[in-house]
Amino acid sequence: MTTTVDAGRPRRALQARARREARTGLLFALPAIAFVLLLFAVPLVLAGWMSLNDWPLIGTPEFNAPDNYTAIASNDLFVGSIWFTIRYTVVITAIFLVISLGLALLVQSTRPGVGLFRTAFLLPAAVGLASSALLFYALYNNEYGPLDDLLRALGLIEGNADFLSTSGAAFRSTVVMVTWRYAGFYMIILLTGLQAIPVEVYEAARMDGANWWQTLRRVTLPLLKSTILLVLVLSVTGSLLAFEPFYVLTAGGPSNSTVTMVIAMFREAFTLFDLGSAAAIAMVLLAALVIINLVQLFLLRDKDRDR
């Protein structure tokens, strides 16, 4: 492909150069393309195909569409997990919005030492999610952990504390653990948004005699809308796909009352060895997530137009 450069034909030389450029570019991008193709696109198509087959863990698959999809409706574990996961998503997202925004407003300060506080709030985010769940599992253990003694000493409980033995308690305990792990992460995102608001805006609000609450409601929150939407997207997506917090901390219990959608899918595949049904659930999850993401992207775009 080495074309000799013809001085009289600059267009052909240019074309040759563009071709050479394209080849070099493709070469550089080849590893990334291979990864996307082999480890993402192909499995995605396969997931669709598997969902149309009776696909045991070991043995020959057999086409059975749409049985895997119709079976979802009578899969009590999964159907129950939908409502549970949505409830969890709503609760944890509301908590992130309030607590992380509070933290961000606090550490927005420029007082000396504020960096240390930011680090302290963000540090749990460096601990793995599974490790965090194990840590709280031990904290919640009445014989081993100090938490029940502490609550008794504070007069908040009488007798034995109950952290994981009822479904309500297990839910609340997991929410506390996830809040501890992620509040600082969302704080940093919100802090970035806060710092993008020009100081002049606050000064103007103060000139107009606005108090702290009015400034927050009428100035800060409206200007923070796109950042808040980003937190919403991340939290909703992450929580709808929650696995580790419940799998490790509550093991889905007591009596399957804290099973999330992904745990239900995982059991379908690796406890019941029915990969076809698991793939069907996975495709349903995918469709739900794409729709939710598109709606949220649409909201984000609307915001940009307003500006």
């Binding site: 450029e21 991008a29 499995p43 995605l44 506080f117 680090t119 709030f121 490790s131 990969l275």
Partner: protein, 280 residues
């Protein structure tokens, strides 16, 4: 009253409020971490009943299952492969996206975006089947390969931006000096995009070291378990009763590398989150 609200008082009161609230919150956030350190070193099972501080929990952890050294080694293999792989693929790919027009460029961009959109579990079930076809089931390499794929959206985005921020003259000068484009990339540009690489590498490290679902699905042989998987099997008491003391020691072993890295490179971590959130 009037004297309390003097100019100086008005400045000090909010200060007390800020430092008071922040300190209480910082204690709440740090207490679980401080407790786990203490719990791993104290108590009858840590000290053989002697009281004070002891390392028995760690000794039992070292001997647990296939042994802590094995689990640490497996986790390190996955992490190193994932970090090196992520950097290799995203530096080359980011450079291509920033500087070249090539076929499938938009498709690559769309593909990376789609990885963000698709739930990991959706992709892991068919991947598990595919790995069985090619004989890569139950291997650490397969876990690392998948982790590289999961890091592509963030990594490609970060590295493309890093290269785009560089003036084109930088590599043109190198090319005029007779460097090949690979040579230009290696000698000149790599040094200039180092901060971006540190951020991408750090996120890949934290994700790989702590990854749970992928190795849980892919790895079936206890000798291949990574540390998080081994610890969770310790918690479920699969090999005897639950040894909470050894579990605390295990959490420390799993968390220390991440916390150290985080404290060292916090600036880069925050930069990564910021870069991601500005785009939305």
């Amino acid at each position: 009253m009037t004297r309390l609200l003097s100019a100086r008082g008005r400045r000090i009161l909010p200060d007390i409020g800020f430092y008071g609230t922040s300190t209480v919150l910082a204690v709440l956030f740090l207490a679980p971490l401080v407790w786990v350190v203490w719990a791993s070193l104290s108590g009858p099972r840590a000290t053989d009943g002697d009281g004070g501080v002891g390392f028995d929990n760690y000794v039992r952890l070292v001997r647990y299952g296939a042994g802590l050294p094995t689990y640490l080694w497996n986790t390190s293999v996955v992490t190193v492969l994932a970090v090196v792989g992520t950097l290799l693929v995203t530096v080359l790919g980011g450079y291509a996206l920033a500087r070249y027009t090539f076929p499938f460029k938009n498709l690559l961009f769309l593909g990376a975006l789609a990885i963000l959109m698709v739930p990991h579990p959706t992709i892991l079930v068919p991947l598990y089947t595919m790995l069985n076809w090619v004989g890569l089931q139950n291997t650490l390499v397969s876990v690392a390969l998948v982790l590289v794929m999961f890091q592509l959206p963030f990594g490609l985005f970060m590295m493309r931006n890093a290269f785009e921020a560089l003036p084109k003259e930088l590599e043109e000068a190198a090319l005029l000096d007779g460097c090949s484009s690979m040579g230009a990339l290696r000698h000149i540009l790599l040094r200039a995009v180092m901060p971006g690489m540190v951020t991408v590498g750090m996120f890949a490290f934290l994700a790989a070291w702590n990854e749970f679902l992928t190795p849980l699905i892919f790895l079936t042989d206890g000798r291949n378990f990574t540390l998080p998987i081994a610890l969770v099997s310790l918690r479920s008491g699969e090999l005897g009763t639950i040894d909470l003391g050894a579990l605390q020691a295990g959490i420390i072993a799993a968390a220390i590398p991440c916390i150290l890295l985080f404290l060292l490179l916090q600036r880069h971590y925050v930069r990564g989150i910021t870069a991601g959130s500005v785009r939305g």
